[in-house]
């Protein structure tokens, strides 16, 4: 853990200094840590108790950013990298969960629930992922902003820092991206019922 943290810190510093190739080294480190944690959680879960991605991700982040004095930019870059991985892990997990349930509970999504999108619902997580994939084809930067903001928990300012654009741009793109995704999710739900 100690050495991983150390590596992560120095890689983050490189990333913040503009060495974008550091991301390639950083991804496996963060990914393995996130997966290790997820696996640990799953082993200890009681069968009747669903894993709360929120709690899992929370813990993963806390462990990986345990070291102090990470400069603000490094922090933003860390979460930028982790946000993509987080999306992958959550979607994988949702897929496995659905497979385990095999159809149960998929048809009873009410419109209200679709509106109040919940990351703890595997079907909704998968829908979001697919819609985000569509958005990516329309505007890659917008889908990246959603990843950073939603899966990475970055603030508008942090996302702006990572993407090298102004906070105003991030805010604007985020607004229309949300409107798009909301519509796309609603439409998907309509297709199901």
């Amino acid at each position: 853990m100690g050495t991983v943290s150390h590596d992560v810190t120095s890689l983050l510093r490189k990333l913040a200094d503009g060495h974008s190739d550091a991301a390639a080294e950083l991804i496996p480190l963060i990914y393995s840590e996130l997966r290790r944690l997820a696996a640990g959680h799953l082993r200890h879960e009681r069968p009747d108790h669903t894993l709360q991605p929120t709690a899992l991700v929370h813990e993963a982040y806390l462990r990986l950013v345990a070291q102090r004095n990470v400069a603000w930019q490094s922090r933003a870059h860390f979460f930028a990298v982790a946000s993509t991985l987080m999306r992958r892990i959550l979607v994988d997990y949702a897929r496995r969960q659905l497979r385990a349930k095999r159809g149960g509970g998929r048809s009873n999504v009410s419109l209200e629930q679709a509106v109040l999108f919940s990351p703890d619902r595997p079907d909704q997580m998968l829908s979001l992922d697919e819609c985000l994939g569509k958005l990516e084809k329309l505007d890659a930067r917008q889908s990246r902003i959603v990843e950073l903001r939603y899966f990475g928990g970055l603030t508008v300012e942090e996302a702006a820092e990572v993407l090298g654009v102004s906070p105003t741009t991030v805010r604007r793109e985020w607004t229309s991206a949300k409107a798009y995704l909301y519509g796309a999710l609603k439409q998907r739900h309509g297709d199901h019922s």
């Binding site: 991605p53 929120t54 709690a55 991700v57 929370h58 813990e59 982040y61 806390l62 950013v65 345990a66 102090r68 004095n69 922090r75 979460f79 987080m86 959550l90 509106v115 109040l116 999108f117 990351p119 084809k137 329309l138 505007d139 959603v146 903001r149 939603y150 899966f151 990475g152 928990g153 970055l154 090298g164 654009v165 102004s166 105003t168 741009t169 604007r172 607004t175 229309s176 949300k178 409107a179 798009y180 995704l181 909301y182 519509g183 796309a184 609603k186 439409q187």
Partner: protein, 580 residues
């Protein structure tokens, strides 16, 4: 909603534009802006989604990825359920929590670990928090409860919705009326605390909260760290880098925030002397100064430099930084910032009285700005009011006339002109609301500013392509106006001052030259193309293009009015014969 990337860019652009309009005007805007029914339908759908989306995705999968002590859902002393980390600073962490017993939202403050290990510190924290909890005042954040969780002391206090004064200022001066309103409330809070013997010791913008309704809540009464500085200051003033090692612990872990904190210390605090209520009044003066100018009263890159400024230097006159500061406010600030506490304001009530008096006069329109003071000296006070009133009226009419749509343009198509991932914005210091991007065209080319890390003045063909920088010696070029013959451009070099040097740049390229020594925050050509007009402070001036023959046309009421007039309404004002 299957849509192509091109169509999506279009829909997005119209959606963004529609959102910027009041909801009542959106339908008519869409009718004009949408070239085809499909596009319109898509944008309407987006707008509907936007309305309905509510809190959709607003809460990230993961929140507050900072290394906070408690995760959401954690329950403290069987009573307070952590909701989220609100902020984290040198003093400790503040969480939003739910009081399960009284079913209300609270803010929980934990002091930093290293501080909570010091028994003396703990004892003091406890004693003072209890004393502060006795304070019941509308402008002081109420303390509900003081407790300990596994040896870490915490305070449960009123949960507030709004932002700190630091967040309100953000490097820009506040309006005079807001400064007075907030100042009166802050001084009221200080007066109430001082009257029962509680000194704050750490008055600074980050400790002053402004609720969404504009009510001040002073935070952290009696919680300030006070470490004896005696004997250490001399080293600090010597300026050696090592000297910070003996300064408060904050400066070790985060030099930036430490500098932010010590900038509001009183001279007696810096010297490590015994403190009384007057230390708060000095710090309050520094806060007023910052509200009036957007800048620290005492600044510097090292602790030593800041301490030297607090002890030995007078801050730059607020009026020089912000000409809109009333003379009386400057006097109040100066008196609060007296280095000798015997000649400073003695009681919070005294500052408050002065602030209230100034507020009354400001509200009745009698406050002196620099400009009106000058007018009065020349004996034209009453006249200046009448003229100002007429000017304001004319400005309003002019704005209406010129902003009124003359015809409804039909958007026949949207195409992308540039595609270089550069922001088409320009920083405009001195404005609270950013102005839309000024952009002018001489027909074949568009001229505007592009900002990545630095701001550049560029041109691009109207048919699209790469932007070409136009070299200027300006630090931050801001577009003023294009001349009648479209052969010269007025540019302002805003740098970091409010009133900027004005330059003329020949088009499509050539050597820029500065217009003598005139300064303004906006500039335009007169309609006949023979003169330039420019706004400076509340005044509008006209001058020859070489800067000679400069004279004042009229005095406006706000900088923005002046700017709009200088930029666009020159014609109406100039030709109406209203020349002072």
């Amino acid at each position: 909603m299957e849509i192509t990337p091109d169509k999506w860019q279009q829909a997005k652009a119209v959606f963004d534009a529609a959102l910027r309009r009041p909801s009542g005007e959106r339908a008519s805007f869409l009718a004009v802006a949408c070239s085809d029914a499909d596009l319109r339908q898509q944008v309407e759908q987006l707008l509907r989604n936007h309305e309905q989306a509510g809190s959709f995705l607003s809460k990230p999968v993961i929140e507050v990825p900072n290394s906070e002590r408690f995760a959401a859902g954690f329950i403290i002393v069987g009573r307070f359920k952590i909701v989220r980390l609100l902020r984290k600073g040198g003093m400790g962490e503040v969480y939003e929590a739910e009081d399960l017993k009284l079913r209300r939202q609270v803010a929980l403050k934990f002091i930093a670990d290293d501080l909570s290990r010091d028994p003396q510190m703990l004892e003091r924290f406890d004693r003072e928090a209890r004393a502060a909890s006795a304070l019941d005042h509308p402008n002081i954040c109420t303390i509900y409860e003081v407790g300990q969780h596994q040896g870490s002391p915490f305070i449960a206090m009123q949960y507030l919705d709004g932002k700190t004064l630091q967040g309100c200022i953000e490097g820009k001066p506040l309006k005079t009326i807001n400064i007075l309103d907030l100042g009166i409330q802050i001084s009221d809070a200080l007066g109430a605390a001082h009257s029962i013997g509680i000194i704050h010791r750490d008055i600074k913008p980050a400790n002053i909260f402004v609720t969404a309704r504009g009510q001040v809540k002073v935070l952290d009464f009696g919680l300030a760290k006070h470490q004896p500085l005696r004997g250490r200051v001399a080293e600090a003033i010597g300026g050696s880098a090592q000297s910070t090692a003996s300064l408060p612990e904050e400066s070790l872990t985060s030099p930036g925030s430490a500098l932010g904190t010590i900038a509001y210390m009183s001279p007696e605090q810096v010297r490590g002397e015994d403190l009384d209520a007057r230390t708060d009044l000095f710090s309050f003066g520094a806060v007023l100064y910052e509200m009036a100018t957007g800048q620290h009263a005492f600044s510097g890159r090292t602790t030593g430099v800041i301490f030297d400024a607090i002890l030995n230097r007078e801050p730059t006159s607020p009026l020089r930084t912000n000409p809109q500061v009333p003379v009386e406010l400057e006097q109040i600030i100066t008196k609060a910032l007296e280095k000798d506490r015997e000649v400073r304001y003695q009681h919070a009530a005294d500052v408050q009285t002065d602030l209230k008096r100034l507020k009354r006069r400001t509200e009745s329109g009698r406050s002196e700005t620099c400009a009106t003071a000058a007018d009065r000296r020349s004996g034209g006070r009453a006249w200046s009011f009448i003229l100002a009133a007429i000017a304001v009226l004319l400005i309003v009419v002019a704005i209406y006339v010129l902003m009124r749509p003359q015809f409804r343009p039909k958007v026949s198509g949207i195409f992308r002109i540039t595609n270089n991932a550069q922001e088409k914005i320009q920083p405009v210091p001195g404005y609270i609301v950013p102005l839309p991007l000024p952009m002018v065209t001489d027909g074949p080319r568009l001229y505007f500013s592009e900002t990545s890390t630095i701001s550049k003045f560029v041109q691009v063909s109207v048919s699209g392509g790469d932007t070409v920088p136009i070299a200027t010696p300006l630090r931050i070029p801001v577009l003023g106006d294009l001349s009648l013959k479209r052969s010269e451009m007025l540019l302002l070099d805003v740098g970091f001052v409010i009133e900027a040097p004005i330059w003329i740049v020949p088009l499509p390229g050539g050597a820029a030259h500065r217009i003598s020594d005139i300064l303004g925050h906006d500039a335009s050509w007169t309609p006949d193309g023979l003169h330039i007009t420019f706004g400076n402070g509340f005044d509008i001036y006209t001058a020859n293009p070489d800067g000679s023959g400069s004279r004042k046309l009229l005095t406006g009421r706000h900088r923005v009015d002046v700017s709009m007039v200088a930029r666009r309404q020159t014609l109406t004002v100039h030709s109406s014969g209203l020349q002072n």
